[in-house]
């Protein structure tokens, strides 16, 4: 894993929002991108399937759409492609589908936050390895001159 480099988070975060996983790919983190993309997209599509491909719609479900919008372009595509879909049968797990699609959007928001953190502070492994606080406070024993040394001579 190469050393983390500080890059501007604007473009990676925008990409991470628009296409799940693209932000991590933009900063060279391939495996996090694979995991985020597969998780968010599988959750999103399975949620749509459970709700009969009717639940992602700005007009029909504006409150759900506000959460789903964090998934980016998949939400826009689903809204456009399923605009004419109407439910013709009872779906017992429709509410689960609505929750899944909203959760996909919110998890993508977490991924955007992770891209932001990686751009500013490096990978999580590097953040954990770094000392918590570099400015070490001066302790009283450090102010005492060693034996045989004139404290006044040090200025």
């Amino acid at each position: 894993m190469p050393a983390p480099e500080r890059v501007s988070p604007a473009i990676p975060c925008l990409l991470a929002w628009l296409v799940p996983g693209a932000g991590h790919l933009r900063i060279g983190r391939r495996w996090p991108a694979v995991f985020v993309a597969s998780t968010v997209l599988v959750l999103f599509v399975s949620g749509m399937a459970l709700a009969g491909f009717e639940n992602v719609s700005r007009a029909r479900h504006p409150w759900w759409f506000a959460l789903q919008a964090f998934a980016g372009l998949p939400t826009l595509a689903a809204d456009l492609l399923t605009a004419e879909v109407k439910l013709t049968e009872y779906l017992p797990h429709r509410s689960v589908g609505e929750l899944y699609t909203a959760m996909a959007g919110l998890l993508n928001l977490v991924a955007v936050a992770d891209v932001w953190a990686r751009c500013g502070h490096g990978d999580p492994e590097a953040r954990r390895a770094a000392p918590p606080y570099e400015g070490k406070p001066v302790e009283a024993r450090d102010l005492v001159a060693p034996p045989g040394e004139d404290a006044g001579a040090r200025g």
């Binding site: 894993m1 991590h24 983190r29 495996w31 996090p32 995991f35 985020v36 998780t39 968010v40 599988v42 959750l43 399975s46 797990h93 689960v96 929750l99 899944y100 959760m103 996909a104 998890l107 977490v110 991924a111 936050a113 992770d114 953190a117 990978d123 999580p124 492994e125």
Partner: protein
């Protein structure tokens, strides 16, 4: 509630916890092994915590109704 329906609901719950666990793993590691390890920990913590919370609510309700 039929037993089959209960299993389906539990599967939905575990699926949601798994998805949240994987994204949590992504925020804590960068390698595939590290992500899977952290995802496993997050999944167990999340699912176990929610189950414990439900059991606690059920116990309090049972005690209050007795």
């Amino acid at each position: 509630m039929p037993a089959g329906d209960a299993f389906v609901r539990i599967a939905f719950f575990l699926g949601a916890c798994l998805a949240a666990g994987i994204v949590t793993g992504v925020t804590r590691a960068s390698t595939p092994g590290g992500i899977l390890r952290e995802a496993g920990r997050a999944f167990v913590s999340l699912a176990g915590g929610i189950v414990l919370l439900c059991v606690a609510i059920w116990l309090v309700t049972a005690v209050a109704q007795s």
